[in-house]
């Protein structure tokens, strides 16, 4: 039950332990992990805006395994880079609002993972792969100084996800995420209090980043 224990420790303490080998997870372990993710989803919703999309268990479980394997590759440097093709595969499901939210339950920990892997060369295949993954999940990679390559429409078209996204952009002062729609939404959120929430922000300059 190494995988579910990993998730349980991550959700409850913010600390994780991974196995020293790339062993597959058994069905019972995956089932227990799915239950933990569902429980986390229920808890998180209490703090989130209304109209949040439903939980996509497959997407969340994929993200959880991706996170687990990434940590293994960061720690077990003796592993061959070719193994990443099998263990760090991209998400193949639909990139809708439900997937964005469900993956974010796990990928909100990408920031600490990036810090954790800061000792590795920027050209390392693992670092490159992690950056590509972060760029594909814009909701979870705010503040990581990564230009997103994904379509943000599923986020901006859902009222709850848009609110969460903007809150993170403001909290991280992430100028790289301010496209035209984000600027409009940001203006609505901050109103006349832009100087209080984001001192010094000049929208005219933001167009340079688009």
């Amino acid at each position: 039950m190494q995988f579910s224990e990993f998730l349980n420790s991550l959700f409850s303490e913010g600390r994780v332990t991974v196995a020293r080998a790339l062993a597959d997870f058994n069905a019972a372990d995956l089932e227990a992990s799915a239950r933990l993710i569902a429980e986390l989803d229920r808890t998180e919703r209490l703090e989130m805006p209304a109209e949040l999309p439903g939980l996509n268990k497959d997407a969340a479980l994929w993200a959880a395994q991706y996170l687990y394997r990434s940590i293994q590759f960061v720690l077990l440097r003796e592993l061959e880079a070719e193994l990443m093709e099998n263990y760090l595969q991209p998400y193949t499901g639909t990139l809708d609002d439900s997937a964005m939210w469900s993956v974010d339950l796990l990928f909100r920990h990408l920031g600490p993972l990036f810090k954790f892997s800061s000792g590795i060369s920027p050209d390392d295949p693992l670092v490159q792969r992690l950056k590509e993954t972060a760029a594909a999940w814009p909701l979870s990679s705010v503040g990581l100084n990564i230009q997103t390559i994904a379509d943000t429409q599923p986020i901006l078209n859902n009222a709850a996800l848009k609110t969460i996204y903007l809150d993170r952009i403001i909290a991280h002062r992430d100028l790289t995420r301010l496209g035209e729609r984000e600027q409009v939404a940001l203006t609505e959120t901050m109103g006349l209090y832009q100087e209080q929430f984001w001192p010094g922000l000049e929208f005219n300059e933001l167009t340079k980043h688009d």
């Binding site: 209490l46 805006p49 209304a50 609110t163 903007l166 809150d167 909290a171 959120t189 901050m190 209080q196």
Partner: protein
Amino acid sequence: MEKILVLENKYGDTLGGLRGIPGLKAATDGDLIWLRGIAVGGTPDKRIASLPVLHRYTADPVERLFPDQQKTPTGKLPKLDWQPIKAFVPIELPVSAMPGKLFLPVTIRLSRSAVVQEVFALMTDLKSWKAYAETAAGTRLQTLSFAVSGKGEVLVIGRPLPQLPGKTFWPRDQMLLPSGYDLDPPVLGALAEAPKETLMLFEPDGNWQAIPIAHFQPARRSAVRLTETGHD
């Protein structure tokens, strides 16, 4: 035989110095104070001799009253509620003159203010507050705190406040004054002493209530959603 003295009531304070005279009794009769129990003959007591007496009598054993130097009685000693002088003039603890504070109650009034301030508090209803928290940005919520009354009234404090129906207030030290009003005169703000760790919420008519600061909690979405009152 005994001496009977009659004083006007307004000189009652002068009797304080007579507490040490044994047998002396006093009674009130309308605007007059009667004294009895003063022996006839002997050296007059200086404290009694100095009283601002209105009438002096001598009473015989059957309580007929003979005015001083007169041999014909002019009346009888009235039936009064005679009390020992110690009970008639009870001892009061002295009031310290220095140091100390003299508290004079002042009615606080509010009047329209010419100075415009930014509002800091909003009194709204729980339904509106909950509806706002459902969709509001966390960025806006994190600057706010709220307290709820048993009647379902919600006092939200912080800046910027949400645009919700209700009454707004602006701050003055620990006081929350209705928007558009100030203390009359404004100098009262510097004199008023609010209870510690409380906010004094004023109505335009000057009525106020003290709300402990401990009753406010950060406006987390979960906290708002889980807030219940008997009126929910």
